[in-house]
Symmetry: C2
Subunit: 422 residues, 2 copies
């Protein structure tokens, strides 16, 4: 069965897009499906094609905590709300919380998410059933307890020795929570094990001043230099937040080829520190991706909204309306992300993975059409996403997602149960 | 004909809302319509009621320029893009540009807009036909040409002497563009004429450093003190932007009862200056409202998105996650705005104007339901607006707005004509 998307706007012209299996096989005018095969024709009049977005840092299951804590200091937010809730989470909660996150992400244009949370198997079941792509962390967080750390490393190795198969859209990688919550023995081991197994690494880095101060106090080094001293850093590392960095930190990150993930909504909402310095990364050729972070500190998962926020924050903070221009912003949320995670998507060209959105050009903010990307980013593209194709499958069609009602009902039920159990 | 909204969620419970004429006459359980009158019953299962939003500073017709200029310095933005486009605008452009803005605003929850632009009659025709509430400025902008200023004052007086009637949802007030584009003779006259006719005043104030520097150079005073020396300031003044203010400016604004309108998206996108100081306003009891500004510098008109941005900017800039908390943010965009413009709306109570939204509780970001306002503001409420009631009339029903297709087609046509005429 092939899919022929008829007459979608692409780079300003009406184009047909032919999909076979999980690939785009042709883009052009008046295409026909392959001879002798069933081809479904999807009329795309009034729809524009755009790559799916990549959310490079999320804690998906935290959708269940959405709206649980507003306007709180970080310490109160963590200690009085988030940690007590997390202590009660079951695999069922994580499954349905992740399904809800996927529903929100698909509805607003995200087709791939890198997820760090506490139960990779529950997350992976949800990911497989969502239809979108997930890169799921096996994350080590030990509270600096060496016994716990050693046990986690053994469990982690056993997990990857018997890696379960959740289908082609779900892959696993490694994570350390942070330099302050993961023992140095595990940080060193993750670098070694990751490279041995060709697994990328994910970590929260330089998110708060507390992290910098305590790392310097305990190690005499900044978190960046400390991680490097443990052999952690490399081109396979995704470092989320990256707010409290100096020039030497940026230089070393560039030298090691680390990719940064900027989370503007979460950083601003929690008042985590200075603005991420996109210019410092760009000058050094460091790749910047974008993330939503979890729903307790954002609280949406609409990455188009966070693209706008990222651009506005750079322009405001650095007094420069030309900073983080549209083409770079779109690259950060699309092609650079797809390249970093190696899913073969990011461009709508023959041979590429068939991952794209069809955007309703009559939605609020989409008229007039002086520039599709400007409208999507600056005028509310998340609400304009009509259809999503992910790895060759239509996982949302005219805003309908299979199973959405059950996901909403279960997530609402479990969130209420968590609230009652506090 | 009465309207009975059956079982909408309101403050956490299912409530019926009975509307007669332009008023809410009852809110409660199991209400019935008045005897002997036709009553339409609207099933609100799965919908929550929320006040309409107030966009207190917009240039609606600039929707036609949406996406025309991204990532430019202010001077290039104005001189190479915006002013040449504005020089070509016709009344037809302004009519359809304003209709498009109204479409976008209604779709995302805004029920009242204060609009400053160049053709109040074209704007008013569009406002009347949109169904939402508009407060339309008769704006004086003379480029500091005294002859032009005198002619404008005569025309302005003639306009209000023979005030056209555009129905109950459309009212007019006065505006000066700014201290640098409106002669002091007109600034003084506006204060006098406004108070004589009981018309409020609207002005751009302290938006850029250029404005402050040039005002000090020419008058020896800050824009706030200069306006006060001309008798302009009072509780009937809406001052938009208000970025470059010192403590003495804030004190004087508080003493005069001036209301401020914060436009976070525009200010950040154009890198206009420091963040608006909400805390300085709040400590002095100054009312802060919210605005989107025009679509060339935002580019959306979704005020829920800008509520989030306003809160995030305060928290980030002032390193305080408790700043501009949810209740104050909601008040700024709803009840304080409705009070300031005197339309009798802002609360869903008997006797109040029937202006409210019905929000789809299954939309992305609206689950779980730990807090409706948190979800609406922080998780994308604009996309969840299902139905809008404005002055007792249903002007959007299940996201359908009468005449929307014609508005989109005309706005697209005219925007393309403008682009071609450059």
């Amino acid at each position: 069965m092939s899919l022929l998307f008829r007459g979608a706007e692409l780079d300003g012209s009406a184009r047909d897009i032919l999909v076979e299996g999980d690939k785009i096989v042709a883009v052009g005018e008046e295409l026909a499906g392959p001879l002798g095969q069933l081809t479904e024709i999807i009329d795309c009049l009034g729809l524009a094609a755009f790559p799916t977005l990549v959310n490079a840092h999320a804690h998906s299951a935290m959708t269940l905590f959405r709206g649980a804590a507003e306007d709180l200091e970080l310490e109160a937010w963590l200690k009085s709300v988030i940690w007590p809730l997390e202590a009660k989470l079951t695999a069922e909660d994580i499954y349905w919380g992740t399904r809800l996150a996927a529903l929100d992400m698909i509805s607003t244009g995200t087709g791939l998410c890198q997820d760090m949370y506490s139960d990779p198997l529950a997350t992976a079941r949800a990911a497989r059933n969502s239809g979108m792509r997930f890169v799921i962390d096996y994350a080590l967080i030990d509270g600096m307890d060496e016994d716990k750390a050693a046990a986690q490393r053994r469990a982690c190795k056993a997990f990857f020795d018997n890696l379960p198969d959740f289908g082609p859209n779900v892959s696993f990688n490694l994570a350390a929570h942070s330099v302050y919550a993961t023992c140095p023995s595990s940080l060193r081991w993750l670098g070694e094990f990751g490279r041995e197994r060709d697994l990328s690494l994910h970590i929260h880095l330089a998110e708060t001043k507390f992290e910098i101060d305590s790392c310097k106090k305990h190690t005499g080094m900044s978190p960046v230099f400390y991680l490097d001293s443990l052999g952690f850093l490399g081109p396979d590392v995704f470092a989320a937040h990256a707010l409290w960095l100096d020039a030497a930190d940026f230089d070393l990150l560039a030298e090691r080829g680390v990719k940064l993930v900027h989370n503007p909504a979460s950083n601003m909402k929690l008042a985590s520190g200075p603005a991420f310095d996109y210019g410092a990364a760009k000058r050094r050729g460091i790749v910047t991706l974008l993330g939503t972070d979890g729903s307790a500190s954002n609280n949406g998962l609409d990455l188009f909204a966070d693209m706008k926020l990222a651009a506005l924050l750079q322009k405001h903070e650095y007094h420069d309306p030309t900073r983080f221009p549209l083409t770079e912003l779109v690259a950060s949320a699309t092609v650079l992300g797809h390249e970093a995670f190696g899913d073969g998507a990011g461009c709508l060209e023959p041979g590429k993975a068939a991952d794209f959105l069809l955007v309703d050009l009559s939605a609020p903010g989409m008229i007039p059409r002086r520039g599709l990307a400007a409208n999507l980013v600056y005028a509310g593209g998340g609400g304009a996403v009509d259809t999503m194709v992910c790895a060759g499958k239509i996982i949302m069609r005219h805003r309908k997602i299979d199973g959405a009602e059950e996901v909403r009902a279960e997530a609402a039920r479990l969130s209420a149960r968590l609230a009652a159990a506090r």
